[in-house]
Symmetry: C3
Subunit: 212 residues, 3 copies
């Protein structure tokens, strides 16, 4: 059941990667690269950081197959998929919840503390999209605004809270997925976003961190 | 022999990184960074994904030395190298084949299935170029068109096919390298590229994957 | 003591990430993402390459907390921090030295040779800034010019030289940190930078490495 929803989420994320390839006029290979990167990128980054190598997405070939299927679907049938976009968005929100729950569970199993767990929930859910956007030279959608990563972060918080109550991993994962998906639906319905800081364009900052 | 060709491929890839630094007007350090990233980036990403850390390119210092030599060659002698560009292209195609063959062999040794092997062949051969292009804020050449990564992918397919026949790793690697390099020569001679999808610029897609 | 300076460096790097978020008009989440990526990104890349997973920054939650504190400080109080920018620069140079020294020491402990040690010193010190700049689609400051990474590289050289004399890790790390921070102060005072190569804009290079 979890596995089926995880594959569904991977497929929907791959669709999003392939539509990005479409917008940028890439060739067939570009569709496949962005579909794979978006579908399994977040989980791969998580597994590499946690030392679980080779990543699950390389050990079980269904993940890659599902990504390729998503990429081909958009390559050959973009308009009919686009007409059903509301259904894609629902599946995407469900996938987001499952990804966040799995990221949190893997991080907890690797012994990370609460902040690390929350970070891994968000990274699993959004890392693929970040890779997708970087490859076509866009600022990652996830840091530009909206409520997407925030839903995954709060799902991670729900996981740590539930786990701290001693309710077991299955309950914690379910809670995390329901919270993430629910928040995402709520944010889509109400067009919620986070506040931005006041901008101070002339402030320094170029000369640290690695100001060169 | 394999080792010598691998170092040659690394050197030629480093040249390509340094020419990218040249085009962007970077300083000496920028030449070295792009030479190293292009020369050993693909193999490093592969080794990290397969859990073979520290990567081979960090354990055997000849790889880094060869990259630095390539970067310095372009920094101080770009025009004579550019005049011999056809020879560089031949060496690059040979390096591409060796990189694809080694990526496929390492992936097979790590227990990956056929799709994972093909993916690792292409990633080893093209990952360095992707890092190179991202660092100077270009859309990676490999997803913009052409037949470069496709040659490596088909080399990976040749590896899995040969290995499935039980012919042993040495034969499979040779086949993969010959197929990749041969396809690359053929594509350069005939200016081959993959089809692009029809573009639907007003389709959705920004709002999934991590639409933010 | 080393731990305290390491956390200070992480905090200052996080400030730099958050100012980058400010310049790009990102929301609260964007501030946090760039603060975390800049503060712990370099060390995470190093730990992943060396196979020390999960990275130290995920095992000890103080690193992430310090990053979040730095991000929030800039989100709510950018102008007073900017007015004290000279102090931030001093702390940043100290952090740079500590990061370089720790990168060199970890690389040596993992059995890398002298070039690998120097590379890891620079990567630890500048990797976070590279990730920060890539996320907002800027060419990494570190390869655009200046003397920032070069100070860390020379700190790595100082580490390998001192270690080769058999003076022990503590002396080598101290030397590396002092050399890096000292060079950074000197470069800031004299506005030093490396030479750039002559540009040959019409040279080839697009068609290798992964010319696509």
């Amino acid at each position: 059941m979890l596995y089926a929803v995880d594959l569904l989420g991977t497929f929907v994320f791959a669709l999003s990667g392939a539509f990005q390839a479409n917008r940028h006029g890439l060739d067939f290979l570009g569709f496949m690269v962005l579909a794979v990167a978006t579908g399994v990128g977040g989980g791969m980054i998580r597994d590499v950081l946690l030392g679980a190598t080779p990543p699950a997405a390389l050990q079980d070939e269904w993940y890659l197959l599902v990504c390729l299927a998503g990429g081909m679907a958009v390559f050959w049938a973009a308009p009919p998929i686009a007409r059903r976009w509301n259904r894609v968005l629902v599946a995407d929100a469900v996938g987001l919840g499952v990804f966040a729950a799995m990221g949190a569970a893997r991080a907890a199993a690797a012994g990370l503390g609460p902040i690390g767990i929350v970070l891994m929930a968000a990274l699993t859910a959004t890392g693929g999209g970040v890779v997708r956007d970087l490859l076509v030279r866009e600022v990652p959608a996830v840091i530009k605004g909206g409520f997407y990563a925030t839903a995954a972060l709060l799902g991670g918080v729900a996981f740590t809270g539930t786990a701290a109550l001693g309710l077991g991993e299955a309950v914690a994962m379910t809670t995390a997925a329901v919270v993430t998906t629910g928040l995402r639906f709520w944010a889509m319905a109400h067009n919620i976003s986070l506040p931005t800081g006041r901008r101070f364009p002339h402030l320094p900052g170029d000369d640290t961190g690695d100001p060169a």
